[in-house]
């Protein structure tokens, strides 16, 4: 195990240094991948391809409905769909806001939970509470927190004598989006924290000690030792978080149903309504396709930079 301490540069082992032996196990690779690829193939490739295809048709909900290929018709309509683009902007604001806050807060918490603090075990367990709670009760709970008359938040302001801060959090046009973003951060933090905490275990203490001997400050060590070592994990979890956040709408739906005045109408909620409420599968799938392309473009920029940094 001491190998690590002697070779602090191993993290940067480049792809070019691959020993030949590892490369020859092609069959093994396929066998290793097969178990996960097979169910993915069955349960995601077909539905996904079908979903993508629907975006080029006029498919509608209904018994024995004829579906015909309409090419780009959906996309022409979509270009002029102001409501959708408006909701797409809200979706970006929501997804970026939640992901960034989630990541920063989770990183802080993970660093704390990685310390030799007392009650660390209990603290770790409490930190995953939002994740463990059944989603059905989470929305109801937060509605009660934000309730204008009897909400925990307003009651808190009332008790500390700050009645001026009482607001109709979910009903007010300016506070609704920040209020639901906070709930989003709350709901997704445990996952990110656990992953980062797990990732921190891979950061060798020896590296830190070596750096400490060199007289590097805490911040310097965090910046130049911890963060780089954590980079692959950070890239993976922030990308996934971003995608998940962009795609999630259940909680917001319970809290505001897109209101007030469309201020919290997330694009996925928009697509959901289009498909499940109005039965426009084709158009909803087209919305999905466009969002996938745009999000991939955004992620590609992000991932390319991060991955280059990581390697």
């Amino acid at each position: 195990m001491t190998t690590l301490a002697e070779r602090p540069d191993v993290e940067r082992a480049g792809p070019g240094r691959r020993p030949n032996r590892f490369r020859s196990d092609r069959t093994a690779i396929y066998l290793l991948l097969l178990p996960s690829l097979l169910p993915i193939l069955v349960l995601s490739v077909f539905p996904l391809l079908r979903g993508i295809y629907l975006g080029f048709t006029d498919a509608r909900a209904g018994r024995n409905v004829e579906v015909s290929f309409t090419g780009l018709a959906n996309y022409r309509e979509l270009l002029g769909d102001e409501l959708f683009w408006n909701s797409f902007k809200i979706g970006l604001l929501w997804a970026v806001g939640v992901t960034v806050l989630q990541f920063l807060l989770a990183l802080g918490l993970a660093l704390l939970l990685n310390q030799q603090l007392r009650f660390r075990g209990v603290a770790r367990v409490l930190a995953v509470v939002p994740w463990a709670m059944p989603p059905v009760v989470v929305g109801i709970l937060w509605k009660l927190v934000y309730h204008p008359d009897a909400g925990l938040l307003n009651e808190f302001f009332h008790r500390i004598g700050a009645d001026g801060l009482r607001t109709n959090w979910l009903g007010d046009f300016s506070t609704a989006l920040p209020a639901v973003i906070l709930v989003g951060v709350w709901a997704g933090m445990p996952q990110t924290t656990v992953v980062l905490l797990a990732g921190l275990q891979g950061v060798g203490r020896e590296l830190h000690e070596a750096a400490a001997v060199d007289g590097a400050s805490t911040w310097h060590r965090f910046r130049h030792v911890t963060l780089p070592a954590l980079a692959p994990v950070i890239v993976a979890i922030t990308s996934l978080d971003f995608i998940w956040n962009f795609n999630s709408f259940g909680l917001v739906y319970v809290l505001t149903a897109g209101g007030p005045g469309g201020k919290t109408m997330l694009p996925m909620l928009f697509a959901y309504e289009e498909a499940f409420r109005y039965g426009n599968y084709g158009y909803a799938a087209a919305l999905g396709n466009v969002m996938v392309v745009l999000i991939i473009a955004l992620l590609a920029v992000y991932l390319r930079r991060r991955l280059r940094e990581a390697n």
């Binding site: 195990m1 190998t3 070779r7 082992a13 792809p15 196990d25 092609r26 991948l33 178990p35 996960s36 169910p39 993915i40 069955v42 349960l43 077909f46 539905p47 996904l48 807060l105 939970l113 603090l117 075990g121 603290a123 770790r124 367990v125 995953v128 509470v129 994740w131 463990a132 709670m133 059944p134 989603p135 059905v136 009760v137 109801i140 009651e155 992953v195 905490l197 797990a198 275990q201 891979g202 203490r205 020896e206 830190h208 805490t218 070592a229 692959p232 993976a236 996934l240 795609n247 319970v254 996925m268 959901y272 498909a275 909803a284 919305l287 999905g288 969002m291 996938v292 999000i295 992620l299």
Partner: protein, 279 residues
């Protein structure tokens, strides 16, 4: 990790931790309080933390009306199976993805990301149709299959990140010492991967435990219903709910995941590089 902080530093750390825990953990307290409140206390203009007239009626109702016990057993079965299977499938695959860069691997990762990106609601009906085709509708096995596939993207992305973090030199050194490939995997890779595996198992368990929609549409025999579906029945029209029984049921539904995590969380730090050096 940052050496020994000063006393003020420590105090600040505890303060920050307390802030985090209040933010993240207060709903549990609220659930606890609500679960013991009679209906009249749930609509007070100034809610209190401690019920003035505590009752266990909510628990009685929750269990007699919706058979939460059986639902919980169903959920436990499904979630454990999903967690175990996800880890078993994802571990070798992520190793392959991280260590051998092949076109197939890149395509698989890309696909996995894409599958997470596409509006989920549009995939539900086709997935439902596939499962019916293969005779897995209305079975727990069908649910497990979906949950594993669902957890795989996270698992693969996470774990291959962890594998990349394991210095290749460690493996090489071990194999130079004469260890076989399997031994290398078992003695070197597996322990270093443990925290990632814990995160994966936890993720898979909890998502399965809390998943609602597939459990709702896929299972039609009432005896096979899972916990989230049973709990949802306390929710009524237009955001109303029978808060008492719902809180009681939800409180009990939260505990297994917390207990599961309490057991697993130790593994988040042991078996790590740090642990190998410092006892």
């Amino acid at each position: 990790m940052f050496g020994k902080p000063s006393r003020t530093g420590r105090a600040l750390q505890y303060l920050a931790l307390a802030g985090y825990l209040i933010f993240l953990g207060f709903p549990l307290i609220w659930l606890l309080s609500t679960a013991f409140k009679p209906p009249r206390e749930l609509v007070r203009l100034h809610p209190t933390l401690i019920p003035s007239d505590p009752t266990v009626q909510n628990f009685v109702q929750a269990f007699t009306e919706q058979e939460l016990g059986r639902a919980a057993l169903n959920s436990l079965q499904v979630s454990l199976a999903s967690a175990v299977l996800t880890v078993l499938v994802a571990m070798p695959a992520s190793y392959a993805l991280a260590r051998f860069r092949s076109k197939l691997g890149t395509a698989a990762l890309g696909w996995v990301l894409l599958s997470q990106l596409f509006p989920f609601v549009l995939l539900i009906i086709p997935i439902f149709l596939v499962l019916r085709q293969v005779g897995l509708a209305n079975t727990h096995a069908g649910l497990v299959l979906i949950y594993v596939v669902w957890a795989l993207p996270f698992a693969l992305w996470m774990l291959q990140g962890f594998v990349r973090n394991i210095p290749r030199e460690l493996e090489e050194a071990a194999s130079v010492d004469g260890a076989s490939r399997v031994q290398v995997l078992r003695r070197v890779v597996f322990p270093l991967l443990a925290p990632g595996l814990v995160a994966t198992a936890l993720f898979s368990f909890i998502s399965a435990w809390n998943e609602f929609f597939f459990a709702l549409v896929l299972i039609k025999t009432p005896e096979l219903a899972t916990l989230p579906v049973a709990l949802a029945r306390f929710v009524g029209i237009e955001g109303t709910a029978r808060l008492g029984p719902l809180a009681a049921g939800s409180l009990l539904a939260t505990l297994p995941s917390l207990i599961f995590f309490a057991f697993m969380q130790r593994r988040l730090s042991s078996g790590s590089l740090a642990g190998a050096v410092k006892g």
